[in-house]
Symmetry: C2
């Protein structure tokens, strides 16, 4: 059997009981370390599972799937994935490959940011398509995300924006020389994300992202409990002006609030507001929330 097992969002205890049982019965266990970022070290997972883990980076899952799947028709093999297994395309690839080799497969689901984002108080039913925001450079500012946010915005829907991370990046020099030396990991912060959003708004001028009239909710480490999870709500201008530390540790995500905002959603999110009075004022005036 080939298992693809979601680890959930935070640490070693977010695996399901079913997932843990499967891990304990496997002869090889791979830990995928690229589609997202673990909040715990590999060693802590190994201790908890009582198993050695084999790190599988992007190259390996994409190009060495047959090595991962070796003997899985008779032994149990698992690939562990942060969040849920269906967050990234690569897992459907390896499952298709397993099927073509007639290896039985089983997916063990878990929470991912795609559903846990409900923790901010905005209803999942009211979200449109999800977008990713990559680090801009001086010469490369891909802005197709803006069209997606506009499509959602025109329908009044919320947009989940996933912020870029850079891991295993090589400097141009190291890349040119073929040296596998990697830069420190970089995570986009909420103020930086808001700056990039407003930069594109400035050039596109559709009026969907307004510093003072567009509400947003920033989340990090959802489900991580006190001291880890942070949810911060405010106008884009307020979030941009908030010190980076207030948003907690990466990974960060941002929700652009759509105009269909219901007053119960606004009330729940208000508990996370930088300035509750200003949040409610914008929700009432711009989003036409009726709090009475």
């Amino acid at each position: 059997m080939f298992y693809v097992i979601g680890l959930g969002l935070c640490d070693e205890k977010d695996i399901t009981v079913r997932g843990l049982e499967a891990v304990k019965g496997c002869s090889r266990v791979y830990l995928e370390a690229y589609t997202s970022i673990l909040m715990v070290q590999k060693e802590r997972l190994e201790e908890f599972y009582g198993k050695q883990l084999i790190l599988a980076d992007r190259d390996m899952v994409e190009t060495e799937s047959d090595a991962i799947l070796r003997d899985a028709e008779k032994d149990d093999v698992a690939l562990l994935v942060v969040g849920d297994p269906f967050g990234a395309t690569t897992h459907t690839d390896i499952i298709l490959r397993a099927r073509s080799l007639r290896i039985p497969t089983r997916v063990i689901h878990n929470a991912s940011i795609m559903n846990a984002i409900g923790a901010c108080g905005l209803q999942l039913y009211n979200f449109g398509q999800t977008v990713s925001l990559v680090f801009f450079t001086d010469t490369w500012k891909p802005d197709s995300f803006y069209d997606r946010i506009k499509e959602n915005s025109d329908l009044g829907m919320h947009t989940l924006v996933l912020l870029d991370i850079k891991v295993k990046e090589q400097s141009e020099e190291n890349l040119a020389r073929g040296r596998k030396i990697y830069e420190p990991a970089r995570y986009m912060s909420i103020p930086q994300a808001v700056s990039q959003l407003l930069e594109i708004e400035d050039s596109r001028k559709s009026g969907i992202l307004d510093p003072d009239r567009t509400l947003a909710v920033a989340v990090s480490r959802v489900g991580g409990g006190d001291g880890n999870e942070r949810i911060v709500a405010g106008s884009l201008a307020e979030l941009k002006a908030t010190p980076v530390d207030a948003f907690g540790q990466p990974l960060h995500s941002l929700v652009i609030v759509g105009k269909r905002l219901h007053h119960l959603e606004a009330e729940y999110a208000e508990t996370f507001a930088v300035d509750a009075q200003s949040w409610r004022e914008v929700a009432r005036r711009v989003y036409e929330c009726n709090f009475d």
Copy 2:
């Protein structure tokens, strides 16, 4: 501490290790039995947790939240919820209530249909807003879901359609006489859902739902493993003509495939197709998927 703990999608082993630890430490544990339907009996959960569970129906969670929250500022109390705690509005209500009573709260996330639907091979990024489809009667055929599907469809996005269930329904006579006698639970089947969708298309005539040209994927008991999980893909006409048994046990959900369908999504879903050749033909011709 007041915990709201997601149980995931299938049975007692889908709780997370963190969730299980919390349950074991609680002095009272409520099991919410209405926003969705458990696939296992309460007794099986009780045996697994080594705890008695108190059933909390809709009335109780909505009107007796203070009874549920009693003493939670000093004891640990949990509310168990099928799927993830943020699938239904009611849980934000009780969390807000706990906060207003200054009771510390913690949410323990899990998979829900809102992210596990990725198991059908369609990318979560490409989903628009989610809709619910209720049982039509002769005189009541609410069709606002159609506007939402059209909004998604116009943008090429997929739509997750959650099918109605009726539990604790009373007959008109029993309701009139105030007798708490309930009808057997009813679950909308996939063919019935497709019939209702096409009935509204017939009256609205936007052309977004075509029996032969619109593809859809039906899922049931996602994550339930062999013998439980069923995924069936086909045109609306094919799904309507498929015997009910082929769709497995309830709960059922349906995805209306949007025009942005990528050929990799189509290829993955094709493994679940009623007729793989016809699936690929429609994907190529109508959805303009390029499989080469």
